[in-house]
Symmetry: C2
Subunit: 322 residues, 2 copies
């Protein structure tokens, strides 16, 4: 058995419990649709771009899968499985063992089994590319387009924590007390995909996407796809206690949090009549959902206004690779 | 529009003609099964590992898609679409434009439309990861397992050309005359996936896989998965005129060709009674198929024997990344 096959057998075969994975012993996997629509998403994470070289292998594994689960949830799709491409500099057991163990734990927790993959050597940075599959009843995938004037703009969880966590890791800042800093760093390293909201979104949302590149920019994308504009009350955007303290202390501006990436929350347009039902059901599923604004007619970019009604000036809306 | 979105719109949206791709304007694609089984395969290619830094962008694009199409063909699956992860150092138009154009040509030629993707920046080598989808009638995917004693071992095309082409590129050897060298290099850079054989394989083969890491090692994998052994007559292994000349001149040994990677031919086990029908139908589809040996009982690794019946000694069976 080659080193590559042995690595796959040792670390990844235990994760391939789904019969369609054939124990990773074939050249392809079998994905049964069972009459559903299959939703496909792909997201890669790269060392020193999406995660840091000294991030623990466990959190790298979880982030690689979860950024994709976040997309599936936003599209109203329930996880069905994933394939993994792993580009490694070497086969380092002390990194691979915890990576595979955490990946397996997440695959089990989210009901998203490993179906197949490719392991290759690279002279460059680590890269983990995941293509994930989800199911929706036929025709029920939620799109970026579909938001209508009068819909409420709703976001889950809190915004900006991951941005702050990354900032702490990068600057080694000690301005935030230890426990709060650890929570912010954890938000950066380990997204919480809102998998439990998939069916709720199908039943309530006109449009949805996950917030991965920054709330402001991602809302602009949702509006552009829907041919609408939006007005958001910045004071309504849900913030963690740590983020709120940093704003109060003048250490960070709300604009930075609205444009910061890696939130992996759900942004959606909910018709007024379904708003309270959505917020209540999301709460029952353990996820806070907050109405932060309204979809408006027009094609101008969404506006973020402060308590006095003045428009915030955003230097950048979101993260872009190029 | 961000640089990343602009890049996608400019180069890749034209390739996303399938309605399930939503013009690359959503966060996920929709894959209709239409009642078929969906076969999923994923293969990545990395600069200076699977292709060379000065390979033309057109051939890099074709190789990235075709190594996956080769897997689908070997599994008896007809192409249905693919998603692309592109890790780039920068957004270089002079590289991206021909890359995307060639990718689009191949997607059209092989009926495998772009459904979605992710474009990320990397400080390291270029990496192109493709996850491709194919369809088979329910339960008709061809596996590595299933080969039975008495089946004939059959391989398509010619073996070892890509290995020789890579060797010419690496050593800048001038031992091969120019036209032949160009053909060998082309075999390395642009695989010919045997897409036209998918339905034939479903109707004839007990087991199949594509030869990507070396015929000897890949046959060993097929035999191990099937719980059988095999005997191959090395003299029957189909070689190009250029490869045969190099062997005759003593410049390369047959063992190197049998263990060299990047052939992207089909290796399959065909029951004796269907052999002539398979070879004839493959020929009618424009693909030479050659019987090179026989599947035998046992679990020892397959043997390659020369004209005198002596077993060839293989130092390595195939390429492994680790």
């Amino acid at each position: 058995m080659s080193g590559e096959d042995s690595l796959i057998a040792r670390y990844f075969r235990p994760l391939a419990s789904n019969p369609g994975a054939f124990g990773l012993g074939d050249d392809a996997a079998l994905l049964k649709s069972d009459g559903d629509d299959l939703v496909v998403t792909t997201d890669a994470i790269i060392e020193n771009v999406h995660f840091l070289a000294d991030d623990p292998p466990e959190t790298v594994a979880r982030k690689a899968l979860r950024v994709n689960l976040s997309d599936l949830a936003a599209k109203g799709a329930n996880p069905a499985g994933f394939v993994l491409t792993l580009a490694l500099r070497d086969a380092d057991d002390s990194w691979l063992a915890p990576f595979a163990r955490a990946l397996g734990e997440d695959a089990a927790q989210f009901g998203c089994p490993l179906l197949g993959g490719d392991t290759v050597s690279t002279p460059g940075p680590l890269m983990i590319s995941v293509t994930a599959f989800g199911r929706t009843p036929v025709g029920r995938m939620i799109h970026r387009q579909g938001a209508k004037p009068g819909d409420r703009v709703v976001v889950t969880g809190t915004i900006g924590d991951a941005f702050l966590g990354l900032d702490i890791l990068r600057t080694k800042s000690t301005a935030v007390e230890t426990a709060a800093a650890a929570r912010l760093i954890d938000r950066y390293r380990v997204p919480q995909p809102r998998t439990g909201l998939a069916s709720l979104l199908r039943d309530h949302a006109h449009a949805a996407m996950d917030v991965s590149d920054g709330l402001a920019g991602d809302l602009a994308k949702l509006c552009a796809a829907s041919g609408v504009s939006a007005r958001v009350e910045a004071s309504l955007v849900p913030l963690s206690a740590a983020a709120r303290s940093l704003i109060t202390e003048g250490r960070v501006g709300i604009e930075s949090l609205l444009a910061g990436g890696d939130d992996y929350e759900i942004l959606c347009a909910i018709p007024e009549g379904k708003l309270s039902s959505f917020i209540e059901a999301a709460g029952a599923a353990g996820v806070a959902a907050t109405a932060i604004g309204i979809i408006e007619r027009g094609t101008s970019p969404p506006r973020f206004v402060d308590g006095s009604g003045s428009e915030l000036v955003m230097r950048r809306l979101s993260y872009s690779h190029f």
